[in-house]
Symmetry: C2
């Protein structure tokens, strides 16, 4: 344990170039983000969805991650979103 190097310093938000570090950060922060979404959903009584596209590395293809695990809820949210977009589009076309 090296006491002098325990600090982290202020984190700069910038794409992490090193594959291994990025994948590790991805796993950690994905967990944190979903936890936050879940807490938010419960505390405020709000339907919440998180959709992630995760190109993990050069070898593995893009991977999809969604929350909540109940896909039906996400589908519902997606459909509502698409309906809403369609309505907005129609309204614009009518101008």
């Amino acid at each position: 344990m090296r006491i002098l190097e325990m600090g982290r310093g202020k984190l700069i938000i910038k794409f992490i170039m090193k594959d291994k570090v990025r994948i590790l950060t991805y796993e950690k922060r994905k967990k944190g983000l979903i936890k936050k979404a879940q807490e938010f959903s419960i505390l405020c009584g709000v339907e919440t969805c998180v959709i992630l596209y995760a190109p993990k590395s050069e070898e593995t293809p893009a991977e999809l991650e969604i929350w909540p695990p109940d896909h039906a809820k996400v589908m519902h949210a997606c459909h509502r979103q698409i309906q809403r977009e369609a309505i907005v589009r129609t309204q614009k076309e009518m101008l």
Copy 2:
């Protein structure tokens, strides 16, 4: 400033009954959640979407909030999600 009551205690994740407190928490945590999603997206180079349905109070109807503000990106994510669900459904039906 009452020093003795400055503490918060451990937060219990449970629906906030008081309308005003819930709305305040909603606004604060929505901001936090979106910031996290944005950081995550940049750090890991990952497409990320957050969709919230916000029934703010008895008076106001359900309100939709999405991130990123570029709806086209969210639409793209939604469509990919729906396509994926359709593929999964088809695969199940073929069994």
